[in-house]
């Protein structure tokens, strides 16, 4: 007869797991985000080789930033939406609609640029509030609400534009997407201001890291060994320096990069460091438990969609400025690129997991692939097919990792 193995029953029969240092544990918890960084670097190296070094030329790096900015802006907002366990299919249509209205205001009615931008962002917030109301308070699934909005705002875009494009925008507006920081120091062959900003960023970064480390020390926490710490600082400083040098040899820092960097820093901060950020993750992790812990789940969900609306509007403005036209076709399929960026960047389709930096990395993986494949002369048809496979592979890799872990 088969006897099951008798487990020794002690008074405390819980399994004691091997001691893992908190740092090792943190790496283990974040292995997914590191692996995507590695994947991004590998993809960049691959295309760098395949394109005989065109990919990382200053002109192309600048182009990469300009081409992907509006998707990255959407991906940031989409990440928050996905973390709460929802989805937003309407962002492309909303971006188009806002871009169209901005065109009408600025080009046809000569409203000043600043006023138009503010009105556009407010409009985005209003659209987001509309969706948030149905999703958070009436409890209609986000998939349905935003699918409806996707149709609604695509239709409205065509209505307000009467099927035609509006162009051209004033130069000041175009500068959002195609302008660069002026070089106040008038470098000869090189953009001096960019190098100086790069240097300042390096110093700022080193200062923040040291402060963080000292702070952890005063609390008596384990910190990584000094040698490793210095190695980390040096590698980051090298990356910043090389990046700013590459930009400096072309036109310098694009305006859009400043907007983008501000958004990334601000949203990472909100997601990781604030109470609201914690509440967003908690809702996606277990809405019922979050609610029973005093999280105002409806209100937070509502505001996440308002935020998405604002970022969709911003994305619409950036796109219109880059194209120098408001067109009925603007923003087509943006939502899918943004969603794909989030999932490639490690978001969970069930909510609760994902980071803003992950969304950016996911967006860059797609952006570099687009750009690289275009440089190789691959058609849009093949690009799309390969992107689809990459999305599937990234998520499959994620699931595989999770199963292996448990």
């Amino acid at each position: 007869m088969q006897m099951p193995t008798q487990k020794t029953m002690t008074r405390h029969s819980e399994p004691i797991e091997p001691k893992i240092q908190p740092f090792a544990q943190m790496i283990k918890n974040n292995i997914r985000s590191y692996s995507m960084v590695v994947a991004l670097v590998l993809i960049m190296l691959l295309f760098q080789l395949l394109t005989d070094g065109i990919l990382l030329r200053p002109l192309n790096v600048t182009n990469l930033i300009l081409q992907n900015s509006y998707i990255l802006v959407l991906a940031i907002g989409m990440m928050l939406v996905i973390i709460t366990g929802h989805i937003d299919l309407s962002v492309g249509s909303v971006a188009a609609f806002v871009g169209a209205l901005a065109g009408i205001l600025m080009v046809q009615h000569h409203v000043p640029m600043i006023v138009t931008v503010v009105l556009s962002l407010l409009l985005g917030a209003l659209i987001g509030a509309w969706q948030g109301f149905w999703i958070a308070y009436v409890k209609i699934p986000a998939f349905i609400v935003t699918l409806a909005s996707m149709l609604l705002f695509r239709g409205l875009t065509m209505v307000v534009l009467k099927g035609q494009s509006i162009a051209p925008f004033p130069k000041s507006f175009q500068n959002i997407s195609s302008g660069f920081l002026p070089d106040v120091f008038h470098g000869k062959n090189i953009h001096l201001l960019t190098l100086i900003i790069g240097g300042l960023l390096s110093i700022l970064f080193i200062w923040l890291e040291i402060k963080k480390r000292n702070n952890a020390k005063t609390y008596g926490f384990d910190v990584i060994p000094a040698a490793m710490f210095i190695g980390k600082l040096i590698s980051i400083v090298v990356v910043i320096t090389v990046f700013s040098y590459v930009l400096a040899t072309y036109e310098g820092i694009p305006n859009i990069l400043i907007i983008l960097a501000t958004l990334i820093v601000a949203y990472s901060f909100v997601a990781n460091k604030t109470i609201v950020g914690r509440h967003i993750y908690a809702i996606g992790g277990n809405e019922k438990a979050a609610q029973l812990s005093g999280v105002k789940t409806k209100r937070v969900t509502f505001w996440v969609f308002v935020n998405m609306g604002v970022l969709a509007a911003l994305s619409g403005l950036i796109f219109a400025a880059r194209l120098n036209a408001a067109t009925p076709k603007a923003g087509n399929l943006f939502e899918l690129d943004a969603i794909a960026a989030c999932f490639i960047g490690g978001a969970s389709a069930y909510g609760g997991i994902g980071t803003v930096s992950g969304a950016i990395i996911g967006g860059l993986v797609m952006g570099v692939m687009n750009n690289g494949m275009s440089l190789l002369g691959l058609g849009i048809d093949w690009q799309q097919a390969i992107k689809g496979l990459v999305l599937l592979a990234a998520v499959a890799f994620d699931i595989y990792n999770k199963n292996k872990a448990s």
């Binding site: 088969q2 006897m3 099951p4 487990k7 029953m9 002690t10 008074r11 405390h12 029969s13 819980e14 399994p15 004691i16 797991e17 091997p18 001691k19 893992i20 240092q21 908190p22 544990q25 943190m26 918890n29 702070n215 952890a216 609390y219 926490f221 460091k273 604030t274 109470i275 609201v276 950020g277 914690r278 509440h279 993750y281 908690a282 992790g285 277990n286 019922k288 438990a289 979050a290 609610q291 029973l292 812990s293 005093g294 999280v295 105002k296 609760g352 997991i353």
Partner: protein, 511 residues
């Protein structure tokens, strides 16, 4: 060949850290109604899951003999093929399908994948006649009441040519008439030669229909009684169910009880979906400083519903009544207000409602009171880590680090995280709903120690539990609930398992 249709011999089933069943024997005679009794957690449902193949052969030890043959079920399908059909406590019907579709779900009357609807309807009509349900086969199950749904379940069982019907708490959700009807039906089937096992808490029902009765306690068979020979009374059954040694399972405490800190008056709650159903009926109770007050009751008595409706109106509709703290009426209309007013609620279902399993220990502990470790809106993670570490030490959470995801912890440690979370929220009143469900004895003891310490610190504790020994071992005063009402209030000295059980089953209408 024996006289028994079913014999389960020496069944032992272990879960990590808990022995759910230990050497359990069950013998059921052909053509009888056999009752299975025991407290919540005694192992009744686990035993039936072993029998029906939910826990497949190899995950338990011991033998199952059905009609003399040894059974090694791999899944439910195999046990159903032999005619062993189980009807679970939570009905497994699909509300959007018709009666006929539900009855033949998974057992479709089909040829080469094409369903013969005429035959299905004819057979359904026959089955409905057998169970005395006068409804069209096309009626959607969602449109039926619970009683009628239960009959559909039975019809479904009959459609599988059932030899042994197992009913898990079949009348728990039914009203008096429907229960009566169901029991009559069982007796009817018995006449036609069907064997049945019925799991029930309602002892009056058992005395009415059962021929013999097996009592389980703590995963062990206590005794099997013949209802006619042994002159079994309800008291006799209760004694079998609860007669267990209480020494040393509960840490000692010298109660230090102060004035009334929390009071609930005229509390009424209606069911969130069935608007006319009253779930909590005019409940009044109070808790004093440093006092552990128990709420006892059977499943469905309304204990959790009471607790959740008090905690930020998290359950129910049309809630009326007043809540006082230190003599002043307080507003608990949503969870954050309840927390601000110093109320904490440790949920019954720690995985579903208590924890965010994908998050680490630290984030779970601080979630309900993040502003304690934050400056304005920014969480100070260093402070958070220090605070969480304190709770890890104080409650002895066994984990490599506070960055461990809570899904990786054992039940006892998960419960300690939930307790940490609510102690961290600095409440004055803690409502603990089944705080030791599904955790092993050692961890239970530790949790009782924590609860005692909280009372010692002057907090008011409301302990909701379905385990009578726990209530008796821990509480200074006990309220008993039955069908949404408080049917009695006993002091520590007055309370015995027997008189608690009597109050818990006091289903008749008040005089």
């Amino acid at each position: 060949m024996s006289q028994f249709i079913l014999e389960m011999r020496g069944i032992t089933k272990e879960f990590p850290g808990v022995k759910a069943l230990e050497n359990v024997n069950l013998q059921v005679k052909e053509g009888e109604i056999h009752a299975l009794c025991g407290e919540n957690g005694a192992g009744k449902s686990t035993l039936m899951k072993v029998l029906s193949g939910v826990y497949p052969y190899g995950t338990y030890s011991g033998d199952i003999l059905f009609k003399g043959g040894v059974c090694k079920f791999k899944d439910i399908k195999q046990s159903e093929e032999l005619g062993i059909v189980i009807i679970h406590q939570e009905l497994a019907l699909i509300p959007y399908l018709s009666i006929a579709e539900n009855i033949f779900l998974g057992n479709e009357q089909a040829k080469r994948g094409v369903i013969n609807w005429n035959e299905t309807i004819v057979k359904t009509k026959e089955l409905l006649k057998k169970v005395g349900l006068n409804e069209s086969p096309h009626t959607l199950v969602g449109n039926l009441g619970v009683g009628k749904q239960q009959l559909v379940e039975i019809a479904k069982a009959l459609s599988k040519e059932v030899k042994l019907l197992i009913l898990d708490e079949p009348t728990a959700a039914l009203n008096e008439d429907d229960s009566e009807n169901l029991l009559r039906l069982l007796l009817e089937f018995k006449k036609q030669g069907m064997t049945a096992i019925i799991i029930s808490h309602k002892l009056n029902e058992i005395s009415k229909v059962a021929d013999s009765i097996t009592i389980l306690r703590d995963g062990k068979t206590i005794e099997t009684l013949d209802m006619r020979k042994d002159h079994v009374t309800e008291d006799r059954i209760i004694k079998g169910m609860v007669g267990r040694d209480l020494t040393n399972r509960y840490p000692k405490r010298e109660p230090n009880i102060g004035e009334v800190i929390f009071e609930v008056k005229n509390w009424n709650v209606y069911h969130p979906l069935h608007n006319e159903r009253k779930v909590i009926d005019d409940v009044n109770f109070y808790i004093r400083k440093g006092e552990i007050v128990g709420i006892a009751g059977l499943m469905g008595a309304g204990r959790t519903e009471l607790a959740m409706s008090i905690f930020g109106k998290s359950y129910g509709k049309k809630i009326s009544g007043q809540i006082f703290k230190n003599g002043y009426e307080i507003d608990v209309s949503d969870v954050s207000k309840a927390i601000e007013n110093g109320i904490a609620y440790v949920t019954e279902d720690r995985k579903g409602n208590g924890l965010i399993l994908m998050d680490d220990i630290r984030k779970n502990i601080t979630l309900s009171r993040l502003n304690k470790v934050a400056k304005k809106f920014v969480v100070d993670e260093n402070k958070e880590i220090v605070e969480s570490e304190k709770y890890r030490e104080r409650l002895k959470i066994k984990t490599p680090s506070i960055f461990q995801k809570t899904e990786k912890l054992s039940g006892g440690n998960q419960q300690k995280v939930v307790l940490s979370k609510w102690i961290f929220a600095q409440p004055d009143i803690l409502i603990l709903d089944e705080p030791t469900r599904g955790i092993d004895v050692g961890a239970k003891y530790e949790i009782y120690t924590i609860i005692n310490q909280l009372a010692q610190d002057g907090k008011g504790i409301l302990l909701v539990s379905s385990e009578l020994p726990e209530i008796l071992g821990m509480c200074d005063r006990i309220y008993v609930m039955c069908e949404g009402r408080i049917t009695g209030e006993l002091s520590r000295d007055e309370a015995t398992q027997e008189n608690l059980m009597k109050l818990m089953t006091k289903t008749e209408v008040r005089g």
